[in-house]
């Protein structure tokens, strides 16, 4: 208890950079600028309820969900292979997974731009075989690709670390009790890895649903996800009140989805939000 003061610098940091901005966002979202200052209003939220914005919200959620599912489908087997005892070059493979994370996020995404362009790498190769250039960029597929590429490590790593911690004798026990490899996976390995799957899902879904860089680069200038919408309010339209309201809606949606996830994730120690 005596050492509590050691937490003060962090608490101060949190107060200045997290709590205060959050309160400001909350304040802006429920107010509007008038001639003599601010006035309370719900108009910002009402504006957001228009079909055009709801469509953006829906599209963001759908693309993030698709990306998360693709990450799970690609990431789980990868984590499984990485964690298997027979893997000898494990650290090298793990290194390959982590390597892209060392590069700047923007740079990585720009790299895809040059690959997918009309005169880019892939289309150049295709033209060698006499295939007409395909429009690879500026559509949902390119955005999903960008999300999967950028966020896949966040799916693989938590699953890998949970799988690695499973006691091999538990798997042997299942085999001993008559389970073949498929049953062992279905009844023991997969259920035991669920905490990793849940944290992988939340670590991919959250950044995917709010991204604005990937959607702007790979989706093109006209492409609108919720992240882009919020960004535009602050950088182009200068309607901070509406931008704050959208942010609040977004936050509530993420909180609710995290809450639902942690309901299924009873095993995680302590500090769940709900």
């Amino acid at each position: 208890m005596k050492r509590r003061f050691l937490a003060y610098p962090y608490l101060l940091w949190m107060l200045i950079f997290i709590v205060v901005p959050l309160l400001l966002v909350l304040f802006y979202s429920f107010t509007t600028a008038t001639e003599d200052g601010f006035a309370f209003t719900l108009d910002n939220f009402k504006t957001f309820m228009q079909p055009i914005y709801l469509k953006v919200l829906w599209r963001s959620l759908a693309l993030a969900a698709i990306s998360t599912i693709v990450c799970l489908i690609l990431g789980y087997p990868a984590a499984l292979i990485l964690s298997s005892r027979q893997m000898s070059r494990k650290s090298f493979l793990l290194f390959l997974f982590v390597l892209p994370m060392w590069m700047n996020f923007l740079l990585r995404t720009y790299a895809w731009l040059t690959l997918l362009e009309k005169n880019g790498f892939i289309n150049t190769i295709l033209s060698v075989f006499g295939i007409e250039p395909i429009q690879l960029l500026y559509n949902d597929g390119a955005v999903v690709l960008g999300m999967v590429y950028n966020f896949l490590p966040f799916m693989v790593l938590p699953i890998y670390s949970v799988l690695k911690k499973i006691d091999p004798s538990v798997i042997e026990a299942a085999e001993d009790l008559g389970a073949n490899q498929v049953t062992v996976f279905r009844k023991v390995i997969f259920p035991l890895s669920l905490p990793g799957v849940f944290s992988g899902i939340s670590m991919v879904f959250m950044p995917a649903v709010t991204t604005f860089v990937i959607s702007r680069l790979l989706g093109g200038g006209q492409y609108m996800l919720i992240g882009n919408l919020i960004e535009k309010q602050f950088t182009a339209v200068y309607d901070w009140h509406f931008g704050s309201a959208v942010s609040i809606v977004m936050m509530v949606i993420i909180l609710i989805s995290m809450g639902i996830l942690s309901k299924y994730d009873n095993d995680r120690e302590g500090g769940g939000l709900w």
Binding site: D167, D176, L177
Partner: protein, 347 residues
């Protein structure tokens, strides 16, 4: 002679150029309680894992009721295992843990429920069906692990130091209970331990192993009373191991003194190891014994006192219910049939 349920034929096992097992030949009779006993690293657990199918022997065959099962995966063997650290499924309840094997066999629900209840009754944990595994104590978890294995009615139950993590009292209770279950169910138990007392208490047959080789196979009485070599003698209970010379049949010299013994068939003047159990060292307060010595230390051990008695050439460990005070002069003798003569160990 009883039927052999499992036979190991010329089994050897090498891990990354380390020879863990060197030519193991062993048969296990139906319904016996067989213990693989030895210090850590002797290959006892590897032997068990080869029987369970978790390791493939480098050479040799595993026979089950005469049929070769060497390459059969674990889930096809009629053998179940109780693991050292229980290896319970933490995501399942007690009932689901025990029912795991039965569900795979696709038994109907009512039968499973009945069998689980009986299994819990067998391990004295009735009514624990819906508890979560994590809420149980170590001893209870081990009972669940045993129930989970036994509920499948295996022909052979393999136990890999199952009591290693329990405290002494609990361990002793579980030893008695395991023996009871084995008798009640008539299942062959193959038990791995490094605890010689545990082995002596429970086993019908003890296999003493060292450095990947079987040192001796026998009943607990055989192993304790007639150890084949100095290693076995030393490992099974405490022993005084004294270098000696066989003068002729039934006459041995050690500590510069000639003793009568009951062993025959050694060469004249052959160097041997003389093994004497501490409880067989007779102590006299006067000089009427054959060797004179001084009590160097006295330790109270509960039932008896452990005393170190130093003679001119050897410090004997002696157990006696009477206490001889430290630094007092005593003399010791050993009865002829308590002197065990062993060939000198080659290494």
């Amino acid at each position: 002679m009883a039927e052999h349920i499992i036979e190991l034929v010329d089994i050897s096992k090498t891990f990354d150029s380390t020879e863990v097992l060197k030519t193991i030949n062993l048969y296990i009779r139906k319904n016996e309680f067989l213990t693989l006993l030895g210090p850590s690293g002797c290959g006892k657990t590897t032997t068990l894992r080869i029987i369970g199918g978790f390791e493939q022997p480098t050479t040799g065959k595993v026979l089950f009721e005469g049929k070769d099962i060497t390459s059969l995966p674990p889930y096809k063997r009629r053998v179940n295992t109780v693991f050292q650290r229980y290896a319970l499924f933490s995501h399942l309840s007690v009932e689901e843990n025990i029912a795991f094997g039965l569900k795979i066999k696709k038994l109907d629900k009512a039968t499973i429920k009945e069998k689980v209840r009986n299994a819990l009754k067998l391990v004295n944990l009735e009514g624990y069906e819906n508890r979560s595994v994590d809420s149980l104590s170590g001893g209870q978890q081990q009972r669940i692990a045993i129930a989970r294995a036994l509920v499948n009615e295996p022909d052979v139950l393999l136990l890999d130091e199952p009591l290693g993590a329990l405290d002494l009292k609990l361990r002793q209770d579980m030893q008695v209970e395991l023996k009871r279950m084995q008798k009640q169910l008539g299942i062959t138990f193959i038990y791995v331990t490094h605890d010689q007392e545990e082995a002596l208490t429970m086993s019908d047959t003890i296999v003493v192993m060292k450095d990947g080789l079987i040192q001796q196979i026998g009943t607990p009485e055989d192993i304790y009373n007639e150890p084949k070599n100095a290693f076995v003698a030393d490992f099974i209970g405490e022993s005084n191991i004294i270098p000696g010379i066989m003068k002729k049949d039934c006459l041995v010299e050690f500590c510069n003194t000639i003793f009568d013994c009951v062993d025959k068939g050694f060469g004249v003047n052959e160097p041997v190891d003389v093994v004497i159990r501490p409880e067989d060292v007779e102590i006299y307060p006067d000089d009427s014994g054959k060797l004179q010595g001084i009590v160097e230390s006295v330790t109270f051990k509960g039932v008896h006192y452990e005393m170190i008695i130093r003679t001119d050439s050897f410090a004997f460990t002696a157990h006696n219910t009477l206490m001889f005070p430290q630094n007092s002069k005593v003399s010791i003798s050993v009865a002829p049939d308590n002197i065990h003569i062993m060939k000198k160990a080659v290494n």
